[in-house]
Amino acid sequence: MTRFCPDTDAQVVDAVQTALAESRRLEILGLGSKRTIGKAVDGDLLDLSGLTGILSYDPAELVLTARAGTPLSHIEAALAEANQHFAFEPFHPNALLGTQDQTLGGMLAAGLAGPRRIQAGSVRDHVLGFQAVSGRGEAFKAGGKVVKNVTGFDLSKLMAGSWGTLAVLTEVTFKTLPRPETEATLAVPGLTDTQATAFLAAAMGSPAEVSGAAFANGRSLLRLEGIAASVAYRADLLKALAPGHVEMLDQATSRATWTAIRDGSALASQPGVIWRVSCAPTQGLALVAAISAEAPAEAVLDWQGGLIWLLLPEPMSLRLRELLARHGGGHATLIRSDDATRRATPCFQPQEPALAALTARVKAAFDPEGILNPGRMD
């Protein structure tokens, strides 16, 4: 197996053209932090970790451009220095998968957002543009480097969650936003599923501008962010809606709590497979109850219940997806399992035939020979 380690965009073109010429397939690799999500790719490695560096970052413009292999930790440090952040709170796989840093390109290719997704949108809502090399071995660009742009098809969104199956990202541009000045979290323990579902729905439907809404460890959690006076005022709004005793978590505890929810950390140390399930928010607890009736399940629910980190002793993929369909639909992605299980399980949500056919045509529009991460999203 060959490992291509390009330092320049031109070398990425060379690598893809070499693969085309020699009929090889490529596994696109950043820092490998999410390499065990989806089907294993049988091919040569195209290692982008050498394509590093922030190319431009102007906080007042709210725009950052970096090479795709730049470690996210570097980006996050630069953002923090300017008192900004990625508002979508990218998922960090460290806790669940035992890996270290991820690249900016890998973050985009996975498209996994954290708790603030319910307020600020996902990775796909903040990517502004990119440069990449298609499976045709051609360097191309799409999108722009300004925060508002509708010129041509929005290929940038298509890159989010494409898991390297469409193009090899070489440079990406993101929208950045100011970091909130303060945060606080309300925790309400001991609610029934029905009470908790109704409480979080009421909170999200209130003018409190909730930026995190989760169920974890038997508690309903609501995060508020912004200037201190506003956070205090909105906390009072939410307390009035709470059907039980409210504990206030201080800033440090709040931060740690939401980092753990973002990463599904509470499930990390336990054996079993871990799914990430997206469903209509009010269906989350009911779906967990339904699957728990059939197997010992544990769950952390984010996004008002619309995102479930679900721990099961074995995948039960058919049954889980059947129950999901009965609870209003959505999709389930296998995030953690052993290699044998991954091979035997449809890791990404199977699509109905017409959608699968369209997806295949879109893939072929970027990668006609099927050389980029083939089969990864099966």
Binding site: E22, G161, F366
Partner: protein
């Protein structure tokens, strides 16, 4: 003017056959073919362009939409989809040899779910109609294009429409959770739903803003938001647009994202004040409206901070709203800017470039030079927070050559936007209007890749051809690849 693709010749006998076939698919009043009735459809919001369609079809059911598309696909007949026809870029401009597929009969709200904060609606529901459906419970739909009384949500999806509040609340793409979509061959698909992430490739993301080239949206699920508790606006006047631009940069630099930040230059201020008399100061070069929304304590605090910044950047005028009526009045001039300019000039042409905000003064001075060169006045309104410029070019279509000059000036302004690192369109779309400027922003390889995506949805280029992309090569040609089998390996590529 941008040329439409040469129409395929359709004989009268062929046209009669098409009408007969379409009437079988859409019975009743749904097929309109006489010239007088079709006249209202001959243009959209870009009224400089007019073209009668082959026939207008107004289906009432998704099955009819799918049936018409499948019929057109089988018979290689072009289709131009249309919502309310408010596009400012000619996205819904008919073609002489195309069926105009009008979605205006799809006006039902299908589902309101306050617990998940979603509304599911048919595509012909107006943007404002979504808000009207939920406002009694204190909710609203955030994107607010200025045509919101008339424009449809299906059209908003096609154009990825924005509005003055999208700095804080996003464009259409950021507020749509799911669609039902009919492809050109009549296949009907669902993308997304009430769950937040659609799963699989983000086809929903690429459908949004695809300007009717990829499919016809037959149902939309949007997220709704709770109305902010309060909103207040403040109006600042500056002696230079540079100072106003500096104020905007410093507000954002201070970590404040206002709900809206709008700038107007002197010609726009004067036109607006003459039209609506809201007391705008006439002795300043730039006006900046900053709107903050949220809980009262937050709005008050941030307003104080913004006022201090404006003070430090040389604001010479300030007016703060203390009542809803005063807030409305501050906005009234800005919201009336387009018709106000329409009052002082027989015609105007609205541009829509986005620039990095730091290039504002460079672009404004470049625009002044271009304006002098072409001998046409330009008034500027500007979504200052996100760098989206709306230069309004004043011209008189009855004077020979002025429309061409206005288009040439507009094109030069957009070239200038791209030259400083910006883009051709921030929210109005490419349509027919900016189609031939696409190569200014994109290389051929970039455009070819976008057209290949088009081919994945519509291989025959039947949906809205002639819009967005200057040339639509045959998909088979675009798909062809030349692989150097057995070529020498690339010597400078690190391999291990």
């Amino acid at each position: 003017m941008t040329a439409l693709p040469p129409p395929n010749p359709v004989s009268e006998a062929q046209r009669q056959q098409i009408l007969t076939d379409l009437r079988a698919l859409v019975p009743g009043e749904g097929v309109v073919s006489d010239p007088i009735s079709m006249k209202v459809f001959e243009s959209d919001g870009l009224t400089a362009y007019r073209q009668m369609p082959l026939v207008v079809v107004l289906p009432e059911t998704v099955a009819q939409v799918a049936g018409v598309l499948a019929y057109c696909h089988r018979n290689a007949i072009k289709v131009v989809p249309r919502g309310s026809g408010t596009s400012l870029s000619g996205g819904a401009l008919p073609l002489a040899d195309a069926v105009l597929l009008v979605m205006s009969r799809f006006t039902r709200i299908l589902d309101i779910d306050y617990e998940n904060r979603t509304v599911t609606a048919q595509p012909g529901v107006t943007n404002l109609g979504l808000t009207r459906a939920v406002e009694d419970r204190g909710f609203y739909y955030a994107p607010d294009p200025s045509s919101q009384i008339a424009c449809s949500i299906g059209g908003n999806v096609a154009e990825n429409s924005g509005g003055v509040h999208c700095l804080k609340y996003g464009l259409t793409a950021n507020n749509v959770l799911g669609v039902e979509l009919a492809l050109i061959d009549g296949t009907v698909l669902r993308l997304g739903g009430k769950h937040l992430d659609a799963g699989g490739l983000d086809l929903l993301g690429v459908i949004t803003g695809s300007e009717g080239l990829l499919g016809v949206v037959t149902e939309v699920t949007v997220r709704i938001l709770r109305k902010p508790a309060t909103a207040r606006a403040v109006l600042f006047g500056f002696m230079t647009s540079e100072a106003a631009g500096d104020c905007v940069a410093r507000i954002i630099g201070a970590g404040i994202i206002p709900a809206g930040m709008e700038m107007m230059d002197r010609p726009a201020i004067h036109a607006a004040e003459a039209f609506v008399q809201v007391g705008y100061p006439l002795d300043v070069e730039a006006l900046l409206i900053v709107e903050l929304d949220g809980p009262e304590v937050e709005v008050d605090e941030l307003l104080t901070r913004c006022r201090a910044i404006a003070d430090a950047t040389g604001a010479v005028y300030e007016r703060v709203s203390t009542t809803e009526a005063e807030r409305t009045q501050i906005w009234a001039g800005r919201k009336a800017a387009f018709p106000a300019v329409g009052r002082i000039s027989p015609d105007y042409y609205c541009m829509d470039g986005t620039i990095p905000r730091k290039a504002l003064s460079q672009v404004l001075s470049g625009m002044r030079e271009l304006s002098a060169h072409y001998g046409l006045r330009v008034a500027n309104v500007f979504h200052a927070g996100d760098g989206n410029l709306h230069p309004l070019i004043l011209y008189d279509a009855n004077k020979p050559g002025e429309l061409d000059a206005a288009e040439a000036l507009g094109a030069d302004i957009l070239r200038l936007c791209v030259a400083v690192g910006g883009v051709l369109t921030g929210e109005h779309g490419v349509g027919i209007e900016k189609r031939d400027l696409m190569p200014v922003m994109f290389e051929k390889v970039d455009l070819d890749q976008q057209v290949r995506l088009k081919c994945a949805f519509d291989e025959g280029h039947l949906l809205n051809p002639g819009k967005v992309y200057p040339e639509l090569c045959r998909c088979s040609e675009l798909g062809r690849m030349h692989i150097h089998h057995g070529a020498l390996p690339f010597p400078d590529l690190p391999r291990f």
